[in-house]
């Protein structure tokens, strides 16, 4: 399972000048100035770390740290 801190850490590592605070984990990335292209590398990294594969159709709804955690843990739970 992944935690919100782990996902926000990946976001911080992949997106320049971003370090999300806990209060921002539920806020859409767009509202935080993080565009969809910036998230490409975030999803690449999450795939590496978790072994999951994201389909293009999955991504639009994964628009915050919280939504990513929920989705990833749901998929990891299904596969365990």
């Amino acid at each position: 399972m992944v935690t919100r801190q782990e996902i926000s850490g990946i976001v911080a590592a992949c997106v320049r000048d971003v370090d999300l605070q806990e209060a921002e984990f539920g806020i859409p990335f767009g509202d935080l100035g993080i565009d969809s292209l910036s998230l490409f590398e975030v999803f690449d990294q999450i795939e590496l770390v978790t072994g999951l594969t994201f389909n293009a159709e999955d991504l639009p709804s994964l628009n915050s740290v919280t939504s990513i955690v929920t989705f990833v843990n749901g998929r990891l739970g299904e596969s365990s």
């Binding site: 565009d35 292209l37 490409f40 999803f43 690449d44 994201f54 389909n55 293009a56 991504l59």
Partner: protein, 310 residues
């Protein structure tokens, strides 16, 4: 016999889509449009035209711009497209042969490639000409994605513009074709495809391909020639988007200014993007060694070094 690039001309439709309006409709801000997509305007072929008309217009521009080239001199016409007239049977270059009134002795064939198509096409046409003993060839890129882009798909509707280019290839060119590398990864075929007439693109996968495989291909090409990045005057990278060119440039140590980004008024014109960059630089004597690199559909990638002959 050395075959090189003698001249390049382009045909860009004047009408098109205001990308600011599109971006607003999709809820994308100006910052995203200008700094990540990089295109303000996306040309669109007129509804009455077809791909062969773009081909014809580009070749006619080439002949207008090149006093030494006449229609009767063209030995081979190659059209790079994956969106030909109709189903592609007959091939677009045959339709264009008739419209241009080229000699019946002209060899005409299409190459089915997307954004890597110009680089592949240069080596295909030059090899064909050398083997067949031909003197003057015209390589056309004409791939109007407006035929397949879904205007409701923000992933693609903001990116692609229609354009065509024609490159005169022959002896005594300004630029000789140097070493080249090609790559095909069919496992990525599903990331950029025509789904029953509608374009689908997994932008993340394509970006990842560009960052990982295309950069490695260029570096390998240079290393094998005993060259460094500093030996290259310009890197003319397929203008997939501002973001992808910048992502590639970041993988190199040289000044990012060596990776021109010029898609503001055209968008991603598929296989036309590299010749559009070349067109204005052909006679720049300060440029001696250029790397060209196209990548996309397939997935595929092709990179090459061009040497200025003067």
């Amino acid at each position: 016999m050395t075959i090189g690039i003698i001249d390049v001309a382009s045909e860009i439709p004047r009408s098109g889509v205001n990308n600011y309006e599109q971006a607003n409709r999709f809820g994308k801000d100006i910052q995203f449009l200008e700094h990540r997509i990089g295109a303000n305007f996306l040309p669109r072929m007129s509804p009455e035209s077809d791909t062969s008309d773009l081909v014809v217009n580009a070749v006619q521009r080439l002949i207008e711009n090149s006093p030494r080239l006449e229609v009767s001199m063209i030995d081979v016409l190659v059209v790079v497209t994956q969106n030909p007239d109709g189903s592609g049977l007959p091939h677009c270059s045959a339709i264009a042969q008739e419209k241009l009134d080229l000699s019946r002795k002209t060899a005409a064939f299409d190459i089915s490639l997307g954004c890597s198509g110009y680089v592949y096409g240069l080596y295909a046409i030059s090899g064909f000409m050398k083997q067949a003993g031909l003197t003057n060839g015209v390589l056309v890129t004409a791939d109007p994605y407006s035929k397949i882009v879904d205007p409701e798909d923000a992933n693609t509707a903001l990116l692609f513009g229609d354009a065509a280019t024609a490159t005169w290839v022959g002896q005594d060119g300004n630029w000789n074709l140097g070493p080249s590398k090609f790559l095909t990864d069919g496992s990525g075929a599903g990331y950029l495809k025509n789904n029953n007439g509608s374009l689908f693109m997994d932008g993340r996968r394509v970006m990842s391909f560009a960052k990982n495989f295309v950069c490695a291909q260029i570096k390998e090409l240079l290393e094998e020639q005993g060259m460094t990045e500093d030996d290259v005057d310009l890197f003319l990278i397929h203008q997939g988007s501002r973001a992808v060119v910048e992502t590639i440039a970041e993988q190199f140590k040289v000044d990012p200014a060596k990776f021109p980004i010029e898609l503001q008024l055209t968008g991603n014109t598929v296989s036309s993007s590299i010749p559009l960059l070349l067109e204005s630089r052909l006679r720049d004597s300060s440029l001696q060694k250029i790397v060209i690199s196209g990548f996309g559909v397939g997935l595929s990638a092709a990179s090459a070094i061009l040497y200025h002959t003067e």
